[in-house]
């Protein structure tokens, strides 16, 4: 099993519903966020093109945050989900320094925090909160090891990119182009 997420940049309108849903579902403290929207503008006027991306932890298959963690607080759960065990985390911030996506932050209570792919919902067979609320259905969550899953089929059909694959982390968030 390999959980992943595909994000359709053609459908995303940048409404930030995913951000708010995550903050509500996971009780993310005010001023912090586990996912966020990036707006990219490329080109020179008048030939501009814009891309909207909902970004979060990439749950990398070769996660540098897991490698550099001195206490195994950052670890890989079933399905490749990268999690932080709060009671093992000493707050050394090595994982924050090692994440090329800047997806982690220090929770006001002291431990490192980030997107969990809403593992508590996924275990119940539900979609992560961000996916569940997206009004344009631009977020697709699923198992890329299963060739018949929606995400596997859409990744076969559509062109996609990963963010900075050259950082060598083997990320599992796909942006449909």
């Amino acid at each position: 099993m390999r959980y992943a997420m595909a994000i359709d940049t053609k459908k995303c309108v940048g409404c930030s519903d995913c951000v708010v849903a995550c903050q509500t579902e996971n009780n993310v403290p005010i001023g912090y966020c586990r996912d966020w929207i990036v707006e990219t503008t490329t080109g020179t006027y008048p030939e501009l093109s814009m891309e909207l991306r909902s970004e979060r932890c990439n749950h990398c298959s070769d996660a540098p945050c897991v490698r550099c963690c001195p206490t195994e607080a950052s670890h890989v759960e079933e399905g490749g989900i990268v999690l932080v065990d709060h009671n093992d985390c000493i707050g050394c911030k090595a994982c924050i320094a090692s994440c090329p996506y800047d997806a982690r932050f220090i929770h006001p209570e002291g431990y490192a925090d980030k997107c969990t792919f809403c593992i508590h919902r996924v275990k119940k067979g539900e979609d992560p909160a961000c996916v569940a609320v997206c009004p344009t259905h631009c977020l697709i969550f699923g198992d890329t090891d299963d060739p018949n899953s929606t995400i596997s089929r859409i990744l076969k059909k559509r062109k996609w990119k990963q963010l900075i694959p050259e950082a060598g982390t083997d990320p599992n968030i796909y942006y449909l182009l």
């Binding site: 001023g31 966020c33 490329t42 490698r67 093992d88 707050g91 911030k93 320094a97 800047d102 431990y111």
Partner: protein, 313 residues
């Protein structure tokens, strides 16, 4: 032209607009770690060569400061942790992939050994020194008899400590300016050099000053060589590595690095030490002080510049 904006109002403390997770504590600790590695390395080395009478400052006196410095460094590390009460989790795990983990275990070994090492010299410095309990007297007699074994352990641990302070940074994929294995040997050399400079600062023996000034000169030469190779490696790397190197080659760190670290921290003390070795009237504490200050600035700048360099955006 590409312009990227986070439009959902993300403004995570210490991450946006640039990473700033490590303030003064980490460079201070890396500096202290290197300095202690240098002090213990040369103390143990010259003990093994039976030169404690020739080089008393390096062999007997400076090790007294090592445990105190280590405790200060560990204190800084502790202050840096944001989940402080869980620090003991470091010692319920041993992770080979994480330099921070084996650094923590190295510190657990070298700190008590440095205390034993320092105390073992008390009876050599103060000839009438007696421990208040007989068992302590017996214990330290035994330590003194086995001093060479302790010296070997300290040499190995000091080299690991000095090296790991640099490898710690190179292990972080996401910060291009730290992605160089040269940081390990560079921090080790710099640490040994600050240890030598500490000897030069306090030594009153001409013979000792002469030898340590020569050693420092070699170490300064190696450091300059390693710094040049660090930048050669970056400039032959990918775009993000070239951009990281440019932080120092025209970017915001150019003046502070080339003037204060390369100039006042390496080249000028090197020249002063050459003049001192040629019996010119140079006050010996000036090059020693400059090397100590340069070593500290090197760590401050490298820790800061690493956090300013990134892959994304």
């Amino acid at each position: 032209m590409i312009e990227e904006l986070i439009t959902s109002g993300r403004n995570l403390p210490d991450i946006d607009p640039r990473l700033q997770v490590w303030g003064w504590e980490i460079p201070f600790y890396l500096y202290i770690g290197g300095l202690v590695a240098g002090i213990l390395f040369f103390s143990a080395l010259f003990t093994l060569r039976n030169r404690e009478k020739d080089y008393p400052t390096a062999v007997k006196w400076l090790p007294m400061a090592a445990p105190v410095l280590l405790v200060l460094g560990l204190g800084a590390l502790f202050l840096d942790l944001s989940h402080k009460l869980y620090f003991w989790q470091l010692y319920t795990h041993l992770r080979w992939e994480s330099p921070m983990s084996w650094g923590a275990w190295t510190l657990l070994a070298i700190t008590p050994l440095s205390i034993l090492w320092a105390f073992s010299w008390l009876q050599d410095i103060f000839l009438t020194w007696q421990w208040p309990y007989q068992w302590l007297n017996i214990f330290f007699q035994w330590i003194r008899k086995n001093r060479n074994s302790l010296a070997w352990a300290l040499i190995i641990l000091a080299l690991i400590l000095g090296m790991y302070t640099g490898i710690l940074l190179s292990a972080f994929n996401a910060r291009p300016f730290w992605n160089s294995a040269i940081l390990g040997p560079l921090f080790l050399t710099s640490g040994l050099s600050t240890g030598v400079a500490a000897t030069l600062l306090f030594s009153r023996s001409h013979k000792e000053r002469k030898l340590f000034a020569s050693i420092d000169l070699i170490l300064i030469g190696i450091e300059i060589f390693l710094i040049i190779h660090l930048f050669m490696g970056f400039l032959a790397g990918t775009r993000v590595h070239i951009l990281a190197a440019r932080l120092f080659l025209g970017g915001p760190y150019t003046a502070v690095f080339w003037v204060f670290i390369m100039g006042f921290g390496l080249i000028i003390p090197g020249i002063l030490e050459i003049l001192e070795l040629r019996h010119k009237p140079i006050p010996g504490y000036i090059p020693a002080f400059l090397v100590l200050l340069g070593g500290y600035l090197l760590r401050v700048i490298i820790v800061d510049a690493g956090q300013a360099s990134r892959w994304l955006y």
